[in-house]
């Protein structure tokens, strides 16, 4: 696991000494700020508010489509360079000839992406702090919402890591990831379109919006966690096999 820690630290360092993470952080916070502001003004203008809804629930739940759209931009951009860049510049040769296993390479890189993703979300905690000044905040709901976001991010970044390992071009990795994740997102929208039946159930099961709606109400549905975990594990497993396969290229 020595290799894992070294790679993890190098990746986090590289992400934050280059502009990428900062650009993503800025764009992300601008978008989140705009979304949050419009939700707050919306609630402020409402005469009456029902018991189980509020700005926090709306931000993470009912209105989560906006939030997920920004993730469809941020996650693929975060993961696109992770392997593609190393393969294009040739640094992968130095990396893979060190005494490390493909699994620690993949996990180290992925761990760094997930950490950066969490760091990008961190400033949004301020929104909740601001809300607390004017009202009551259900910290359980806040916790479960962030857990839901972490799950979605973990799945998205895992798929992005896999796509980045499939190509030497960052642009191709970005497009493939957006295509894949947008497809997954759209599949979830099917819940509201199709007639009741197996296909609709399937759509509901993979729906990212459905997941955020549940989690923002404090409902920790194990099926959602298992789904996110499965996508993450599958993506990382296949990535490990891809990295291993380069020896035979």
């Amino acid at each position: 696991m020595n290799g894992f820690l070294a790679i993890y630290r190098r990746e986090v360092l590289s992400l934050w000494v280059t502009p990428l993470a900062w650009v993503l952080l800025t764009v992300f916070l601008l978008l989140q700020g705009a979304i949050f502001y419009s939700i707050i003004t919306h609630f402020a203008s409402m005469a009456e508010v029902s018991v189980d809804t509020g700005p926090v629930q709306a931000y993470f739940g009912q209105e989560s489509i906006f939030l997920l759209m920004t993730l469809l931009l941020v996650c693929p951009a975060l993961s696109m360079r992770v392997f593609a860049e190393e393969r294009r510049s040739g640094t992968i040769e130095a990396l893979l000839t060190a005494p490390v296993t493909p699994a620690s390479v993949v996990l180290g890189k992925y761990g760094a992406l997930l950490t950066t993703y969490a760091l990008i979300w961190l400033p949004t905690l301020l929104y909740v702090v601001i809300l607390r000044k004017t009202g009551v905040v259900d910290w359980g709901v806040v916790g479960s919402s962030y857990l839901g976001l972490l799950g979605i991010g973990a799945a998205y970044l895992s798929l992005g890591t896999l796509m980045s390992a499939m190509t030497k071009s960052q642009l191709v990795a970005l497009l493939l990831t957006i295509f894949l994740e947008f497809g997954l997102f759209i599949l979830g929208v099917g819940e509201y379109i199709f007639d009741p039946g197996l296909f609709r159930d399937l759509c509901a099961h993979v729906s990212m919006m459905g997941q955020m709606e549940d989690f923002s109400k404090g409902i920790l549905d194990l099926r959602r966690v298992v789904f996110d975990g499965t996508v993450t594990a599958l993506g990382l497993f296949v990535t490990t096999r891809v990295v291993d396969s380069w020896r035979w290229g």
Partner: protein, 327 residues
């Protein structure tokens, strides 16, 4: 240190290395020589564990690279061909990352990084961002990376490519200095590099080993060697005298501009004839004929000639016999 037996590596339909066998002993500095595209980099990448062999076995420091890849990779420091580095990191940060990756004990890391930078001549660049370094310095950082875990075996893929003559001299001196307690295998397509740094060379062409041996052995492989004799000879009697010695053939006669009496005879010594014995017979024949010898210059077979003979594609069949070894 390195034992390679029947190594073959193909990329789909293209066979890059075929049936390659050689070994490198402890403490040797061995040059891996061949024209561009001969399969040098592919072979070194297999040895370093970056590529898998299609067939054959490779043992590094006693560890089979297929069965114990991590143990094998721990024993070696590898410098890839184009010295790829992370441009966003500082030199010291990069080497710190590499030291951690190569499992240098935490307590020894600072000293290991310091001494590797010192040896590679980049100590004064420790705080510089790699992206701002010149090609020569990047090459040296990659070399420092290969040295940082103080491995018993160094595999360097074209360590002097892209350097200026001063830097080349420094790197060669460093490689010579590293030998002794370490084994070094370096690839190059520059012959003088092998002559300057290596004790032994492996010559590879189109994926096959065409020759191996010490520099002297390789030099001796030239099919025939040459002699130049400068004589004072107004009557062309020397030519007749030389004609009587079997195995010596006169290739060319050039006359001195200043005096028509002085000529230089360019001779070649035939196969199977000892050059030294030929010189003896030649001198005797010329003195008996009463011809004054001004100079006798044996033409040293240059490695360039041997190399081009070995790797000439028309003569591929002739080059397949090894110099000092058995098949």
């Amino acid at each position: 240190m390195i034992e390679v037996s029947n190594l073959t590596k193909d990329y789909g339909t293209v066979v890059a290395v075929r049936d390659l066998s050689f070994s490198v002993g402890k403490g040797e500095i061995v040059g891996f020589l061949g024209p561009n595209g001969a399969g040098k980099s592919t072979t070194l990448r297999v040895l370093a564990g970056f590529l898998g062999a299609s067939s054959g076995r490779v043992r590094i420091a006693g560890h089979d690279i297929a069965e114990a890849p991590l143990a094998a990779r721990r024993a070696l420091g590898y410098m890839p061909e184009s010295a790829p580095l992370y441009p966003e990191l500082r030199v010291a940060e990069y080497l710190q990352f590499r030291a951690r990756l190569k499992e240098v004990p935490r307590a020894k890391q600072t000293a290991a990084i310091g001494s590797s930078m010192e040896r590679a001549g980049v100590a004064h660049m420790a705080g510089t961002v790699i992206g701002h370094l010149s090609k020569g310095y990047r090459q040296r950082v990659a070399l420092a990376d290969a040295l940082v875990s103080d491995p018993p075996l160094l595999i360097l893929d074209e360590p002097t490519a892209g350097l200026d003559p001063n830097q080349i001299r420094e790197v060669r001196a460093l490689i010579k200095d590293l030998g002794g307690d370490r084994t070094v295998l370096l690839s190059t397509h520059i012959l003088s590099e092998v002559e300057a740094t290596c004790e032994r060379a492996l010559v590879i062409d189109r994926g096959r080993l065409v020759a191996e041996g010490t520099i002297e052995e390789l030099r001796a492989r030239q099919n025939s060697s040459a002699l130049n004799v400068r004589v004072r000879d107004p009557n062309a009697a020397a030519e007749a005298a030389i004609g009587r010695i079997s195995g010596l053939t006169l290739r060319k006669v050039s006359t001195d501009d200043a005096s028509a009496e002085r000529r230089t005879l360019h001779l070649s010594v035939g196969d199977g004839l000892d050059t030294e014995l030929a010189i003896e017979a030649l001198v005797r024949a010329l003195t008996e004929a009463g011809i004054g010898i001004h100079a006798l210059i044996p033409e040293q077979a240059s490695l360039e000639q041997v190399f081009s003979e070995l790797t000439a594609h028309e003569k591929a069949g002739a080059g397949l016999v090894r110099a000092g070894g058995e098949r």
